[in-house]
């Protein structure tokens, strides 16, 4: 199957209300991200892993699937989580590691998502392990005759891992309903794409496994959304897995512990800032008449207030009791 490129501003099947909602998700992701970073620099949050620059792709692919599908986000996917109903409060509870944290009760670092209720599968730090899990999940669904899709997100660096290749191999041999969502933001910490693969696009890897591979402009929400919908349809009708590559840029360093000045120029970063997906989406909603400038201002203020409240809530919330750390090693 040849790889295809989805062109920007593809026809959207989403109505204005839904578009506004998606824009709000992106704004929320950006605002949460900004505040987390500030909290870290203020010494109130030990570790932050930002999504800045990836909002369109994340909200896009999360929106392109159904609640009955299965989601295996990677650590940068705050945009995915917020689109699935994760709240700003939950984001900050997790950031500080409070008991009410739905992903792990404060046991995991931030960015290690898991939420059974919303079909978000628990993730870990050794990257790429989740792609094999997606394969197994898809297998089980298909065995029961369900039409669920399992979508695992990963960075382009993870496409170097052995588990990635084993997963693509399995999924294509058995034609499983899996979406491999490669959020290609250009860098695996300090390692640029050229040091992670010899091909131009990560989607080309799919060719080696006889499966579909699609490269998409990751700063275009609609392109990402549509590509996801199509890939999911392919999977549901039994035509197998798709490798979706969203190409974009990681505007911030890898994490609050990284200093990107050591491996890339400010010029490069500034050039990509001009292609900020939030700007792009803002332009679209204004041009398409989905919102007015006042609406936009009000929306931003509302989002800001929501985030401020969330921070206050999370800071006041209790930590888990020490005795709790001995529970759930095995079934109790």
């Amino acid at each position: 199957m040849a790889k295809t490129k989805v062109s920007p501003k593809a026809t959207s099947s989403l109505g204005p209300a839904e578009v506004r909602k998606m824009y709000r998700n992106m704004l929320l992701a950006r605002t949460v991200d900004e505040r987390m970073w500030v909290l870290n620099r203020a010494g109130k949050a030990p570790f932050v892993i930002p999504c800045r620059g990836q909002e369109a792709a994340q909200v896009g692919w999360a929106a392109g699937l159904r609640p009955t599908d299965f989601f295996l986000p990677y650590y940068r996917d705050i945009g995915v989580m917020l689109t699935l109903g994760y709240t700003a409060r939950q984001a900050f509870l997790s950031l500080i590691g409070k008991a009410e944290d739905v992903t792990s009760g404060g046991r995991q670092m931030p960015g290690h998502y898991g939420w059974r209720e919303r079909h978000v599968i628990t993730g870990s730090s050794p990257v790429t392990t989740q792609v094999l899990h997606a394969v197994g999940i898809a297998y089980a669904s298909r065995m029961r005759g369900e039409d669920a899709v399992a979508a695992a997100a990963l960075g382009e660096g993870s496409t170097s891992q052995g588990d990635f290749h084993e997963a693509l191999n399995w999924a294509s041999i058995y034609k499983l309903p899996v979406l491999f969502v490669v959020e290609n933001n250009g860098y695996a910490i300090s390692s640029p794409q050229a040091k992670e693969m010899a091909v131009q696009d990560a989607a080309e890897r799919a060719l080696g496994y006889g499966m579909a591979g699609v490269t998409v402009d990751g700063t275009d929400f609609f392109a990402c959304y549509e590509a996801t919908v199509q890939a999911a349809e392919r999977a549901r009708r039994g035509d197998g897995p798709t490798l979706l590559e969203f190409k974009m840029y990681r505007l911030l360093p890898h994490s609050s512990d990284d200093d990107d000045r050591t491996y890339r120029s400010r010029d490069e970063v500034d050039a990509w800032k001009e292609r900020d997906p939030i700007l792009r989406m803002q332009q679209h909603v204004l041009e398409a008449g989905v919102m007015t400038a006042e609406d936009d201002g009000a929306l931003r203020a509302e989002v800001q207030a929501e985030v401020d409240e969330a921070i206050a809530y999370a800071e006041a919330a209790p930590y888990p009791p020490v005795e709790d750390m001995f529970t759930h090693v095995y079934a109790d």
């Binding site: 992903t103 094999l132 197994g136 090693v329």
Partner: protein, 327 residues
């Protein structure tokens, strides 16, 4: 009751559980059409179909990772690793994922799966078809590690492992497969995980062993009995969680401990058993705790004399017991 060998016990457990629970699936290399390179799954693909008995592509990380995904979405997978020596590519999935999923999700998810592998030497398997790797997994809370030594225990413990809500690493001694024969009770009989088995009561020393070594220890005890040494034999059966109570109670009866395992000496299961005894039964000990084990070399050589020298056997066990009792 019928007399069968250990691998019959394995096969029957898998077959009966697959009949009983449609969620149970088996995946691994050559498990389907070939019936498993040791014939452990012979007949299963015919009985339960290719969807439930899967000939996996070659790759241990993939086998275990996919199985974890299956377990997360309502299936009960049995992932077979063809030889325990090859389990290491799957180590990340087993230790980082399977073992920690329940804990890291604060009980939101769990992984009811079994990872099975033949282990151990004495079959001219050389360096990479003879290893004992249980020690690596004993160190991982969140896993269970089970090693049967009799056909009845193989069946009963595997049934329990399949029904267990947590990941169980299940090692089967490949030499035991056909060497060890015994009665397997009819019907749906399970053996509890986490409980050792008192093979034989004694008063002069306790011999703790598992797998093929438990079989050999029993033979050694018979020899020793004729010499007037009364050896108690405990088959540990589950290494994680270890039946510490059974170990301590035994030492309280006999006051001497001999631990036997095929795996390398340093940091083998024996070290944990020895520490347990030293911590919990020091004032019962009438002699130093002794471990009779494989030597600290990377693996068991292929040539016959060196392989025999590596492996403990009933006479070496008996001799160690004699020496311990003479102290």
């Amino acid at each position: 009751m019928a007399v069968k060998n250990l691998i019959d016990g394995i096969r029957e457990a898998m077959s009966e559980e697959m009949a009983r629970d449609e969620r149970v699936v088996l995946l691994g290399e050559d498990v389907g059409k070939r019936g498993g390179v040791f014939r452990a799954s012979e007949g299963l693909v015919d009985a339960y179909g290719e969807q439930r008995v899967i000939d996996a592509p070659l790759g241990e990380s993939g086998i275990v990772g996919v199985a974890i995904g299956m377990a997360l979405n309502g299936l009960v997978p049995i992932a077979e690793i063809q030889f325990a020596d090859f389990i290491h590519p799957a180590f990340n999935q087993i230790v980082s994922e399977a073992a920690k999923i329940r804990y890291r999700s604060d009980n939101d998810f769990h992984v009811p799966m079994v990872i099975r592998a033949p282990f151990g030497g004495g079959v001219h398997g050389g360096l990479y078809h003879s290893q004992s790797v249980e020690a690596f997994f004993m160190h991982v809370p969140g896993l269970k590690v089970v090693i049967p030594s009799t056909p009845a225990d193989a069946k009963g413990l595997l049934k329990s492992a399949i029904r267990d809500e947590d990941p169980v690493v299940f090692f089967e001694h490949k030499r035991s497969y056909r060497l060890v024969r015994g009665e397997i009770p009819d019907g749906d009989v399970t053996v509890p995980i986490g409980k050792a088995r008192l093979v034989r009561e004694g008063k002069d020393l306790s011999i703790f062993a598992y797998g093929l070594m438990a079989f050999y220890a029993e033979q050694a005890a018979q020899t020793l009995a004729q010499e007037g040494i009364s050896a108690e034999v405990i088959d540990l059966r589950t290494l994680l969680p270890l039946d510490r109570e059974a170990i301590l109670q035994s030492v309280a009866r006999t006051h001497r401990a001999l631990i036997v395992h095929e795996a390398n000496h340093t940091m083998g299961a024996g070290a944990e058993v020895a520490a347990t005894i030293a911590e919990g039964a020091l004032y019962e000990l009438d002699a130093p705790i002794r471990r009779l084990t494989g030597p600290d070399i990377p693996a068991m050589p292929f040539n016959t004399p060196q392989e025999e020298h590596f492996m403990p056997n009933p006479e070496k066990i008996a001799q160690a017991a004699r020496e311990l009792c003479a102290l």
